[in-house]
């Protein structure tokens, strides 16, 4: 097998299933990435660590293996080989690493990405020696957008403040009439210094921040963090705790899918859909609060297990899941048969399977464009190794396909709720984890509702966080939206954007 020589020179990592680490040289960094790309593997995350020996990391996935490449950058070298030609998603990750740590890739696009004008050119938030500052003077911002020249080409700037109840970001459209020739995104408006903040927290509390990287993926973020932490502590959690975590993760998936299906109906002018799905979502959130303690499970997954176990509320959750499954089935028929909705959904925002593979489109959006990857099936960690999750996939890659994938995944998650409640083992829901006794780097990766949520956690021997990199799958998918919109009309942008529903906060850090 093509990756054999890399696996042979790698060491197993504690924590995330199938994770292995390779100490890379600039040549092996590129060669390994090439081999992974050649067999259809993808880039999970890329980040830099300026503390200690300056190192850049790339996590690559080729199921069932996660390869962590660690490339130490000497003072003499100063830069590292860029991976954007192999993995286009690496381009922005490399730009962000340069903004925050000052470590540059030798690649084409050297524009700042997360750095706007709010901090001085020589301030590096994640540089080993930097102290967090509180008041820095800014200056005017001059971002070099790519211009489109030609007769009748107009530029429409949108944002950062958007017209609805939604996160901020900037979209620069180049249009002829209503048709979009090009879209360029500029993000980073909600950059809050999360990675610097992690380094101020004790490792045993980092899960609280990991949950709040993207609020709609709180369970996925905190679970990925706890996987990394528990791996470093070489601790195993009780079986019941793992099953409760899965219950929470599926609950989060259901809430997001219900919300999106309603919003997508609304974006196509079908307010009935929004009214019905938002009603079902409210029912679901209330049932979640009764069974698991919160509507949004920001503090449910903790190191050692979960924070609360209301055994008696679980049966009600399963009953609510059955109700919602029946209702959403009926709503699906209405959506499918509604001519106006179909007219908007079909052939809008299409990403072909070939383009999706080339750009590394992942998660739910990827599955709607033939990229049939789902960590619950491909890299099944407890309890998913005892549950058979049906993987959902389409090939049309349009809004209709992303809606269909949501409907199918919704039904599957509702079914899983019932199965988990029936089969969940008894026992403890949480154990006290002994503090890790040595420094180390651990990984966690969880299939959140949007896609693979990844956390890399580097701790010191005394339980502090040296560096934590939380990675939302929006990094891979935001650039693909720029392609999906081409040839569509501007009024379809909200619909197409919502069909991806990417995180701004999860991306901006």
């Amino acid at each position: 097998m093509p990756l054999r020589r890399w696996i042979e020179q790698s060491l197993p990592l504690r924590c995330a299933a199938g994770a292995r680490r390779i100490e890379a040289t600039p040549d092996s960094w590129l060669a390994c990435a090439q081999d992974v790309a050649a067999i259809g593997g993808r880039l999970l995350a890329l980040w830099a660590d300026g503390a200690g020996p300056v190192t850049v990391y790339a996590a690559l996935i080729a199921e069932p293996t996660v390869l962590l490449l660690a490339l130490e950058i000497s003072e003499a070298a100063g830069t590292y080989p860029g991976l954007a030609e192999l993995f286009p998603a690496a381009a922005r990750m490399q730009r962000a690493a340069a903004d925050l740590s000052g470590i540059r890739a030798r690649d084409f696009d050297q524009r700042p990405w997360l750095r706007h004008a709010a901090w001085p050119d020589d301030y590096l938030p994640l540089h080993g020696q930097a102290q967090p500052a509180t008041q820095l003077a800014g200056r005017t911002d001059q971002y070099r957008f790519v211009r489109v020249e030609g007769d009748g080409v107009h530029e429409i700037p949108v944002g950062p403040v958007h017209a609805g109840i939604i996160e901020p970001g900037h979209f620069r459209f180049s249009v002829v009439g209503e048709k979009v020739l090009k879209l360029e995104e500029r993000l980073g408006y909600v950059h809050k210094g999360i990675e610097q903040r992690f380094a101020q927290l004790p490792a045993v509390e980092g899960h609280r921040l990991a949950a709040r990287v993207s609020g709609d993926s709180a369970v996925a973020g905190s679970w990925a963090y706890c996987q990394a932490y528990e791996g470093l502590a070489q601790a195993t959690i009780p079986a019941r705790a793992a099953w409760l975590r899965a219950l929470a993760l599926e609950s989060e998936r259901i809430a997001n899918h219900l919300g999106d299906l309603g919003a997508l109906g609304n974006d196509a002018g079908f307010a009935f859909g929004l009214a019905q799905f938002s009603r079902l979502k409210e029912q679901w959130l209330r049932a979640t609060a009764v069974a698991l303690g919160q509507r949004y499970l920001f503090d449910f997954v903790v190191p050692g297990g979960v924070s609360v176990d209301r055994g008696d509320g679980l049966a009600q959750l399963a009953a609510c899941a059955d109700d919602i499954a029946a209702e959403s089935s009926a709503l699906r028929v209405i959506y499918d048969e509604h001519a106006g909705v179909r007219d908007r959904f079909v052939d809008a925002g299409t990403v072909t399977p070939a383009l999706a593979a080339q750009l590394g489109l992942c998660g739910l959006a990827g599955r709607a464009s033939g990229q049939a990857f789902d960590l619950r099936c491909d890299l099944a960690a407890s309890p998913y190794d005892e549950l058979t999750v049906r993987k959902v996939s389409r090939r049309e890659g349009d809004v209709m396909a992303r809606v269909a994938v949501r409907f199918d995944e919704l039904q599957e998650s509702l079914r899983l709720i019932g199965e988990i409640v029936r089969r969940i083992p008894g026992g403890e829901f949480r154990v006290v984890i002994p503090s890790p006794t040595q420094a180390g780097l651990g990984l966690g990766v969880v299939e959140g509702w949007r896609g693979p949520v990844f956390v890399a956690l580097h701790i010191t021997a005394d339980g502090c966080i040296q560096r934590c990199h939380p990675h939302d799958p929006s990094w891979q998918n935001w650039p693909v939206l720029e392609h999906a919109i081409i040839g569509n009309i501007v009024p379809d942008f909200p619909l197409i954007n919502k069909s991806f529903n990417l995180s701004y906060s999860g991306h901006d850090l």
């Binding site: 709010a118 901090w119 500052a133 403040v161 903040r197 609020g215 009214a275 709503l331 901006d508």
Partner: protein, 171 residues
């Protein structure tokens, strides 16, 4: 079409009663009486995400669902600050959003109110103040009412909005 109408009939109206205003949330008393006289109970709100993790947004969305039905008590969300009586601001204010938030505030005509939502809006939350975050909303624009929570449940957000527009108890 028939199935759609059928479902509308079967589900019916599911709106709950609104919660009462909560005086414990009041921060400033400016403009209260005047606003009530001018506006009565109807209100237009512009939401601004100044740096939120998007959790508070999810609970604000819930206000528009048929159960909370904020439009049913005469309060709606608008697309432009120029149409708004009130700004609902979420998140700690990221420094990249400071300018946008100030311009949105300035574009909102007087009389106006500002409600800061969530732990982050009240105090900067877990993110705090640093090179990238200016912290709580009141550090950047004047705030009338602030409601804590991570995220605050829709009832609390609704109570905060109603508190902001109702006359204070001691007037």
């Amino acid at each position: 079409m028939l199935k759609t109408l059928n479902r509308i009939c079967r589900v019916g109206i599911v709106t709950e009663a609104a919660p009462p205003a909560d005086e414990t949330l009041r921060l400033r008393d400016a403009l209260q009486g005047k606003l009530r006289d001018i506006l009565g109970r109807a209100l237009c709100i512009r939401h601004v995400d100044a740096g939120s993790c998007n959790g508070c947004e999810l609970e604000i969305h819930a206000l528009n669902n048929p159960i909370y039905n904020i439009e049913g008590i005469g309060i709606r969300f608008v697309a432009s600050p120029r149409h708004a009586d009130m700004l609902l601001v979420t998140g700690p204010v990221s420094r990249h959003m400071e300018e946008a938030l100030r311009r949105t505030y300035d574009a909102t005509p007087d009389p106006k109110l500002v409600v800061a939502i969530g732990d982050c809006g009240c105090s900067g939350g877990i993110f705090g103040e640093n090179y990238a975050s200016a912290g709580r909303v009141a550090n950047v624009i004047p705030v009338d009412v602030a409601v804590a929570g991570c995220p605050p449940v829709p009832e609390r957000i609704l109570a905060a909005i109603l508190t902001a527009i109702s006359s204070p108890a001691n007037k």
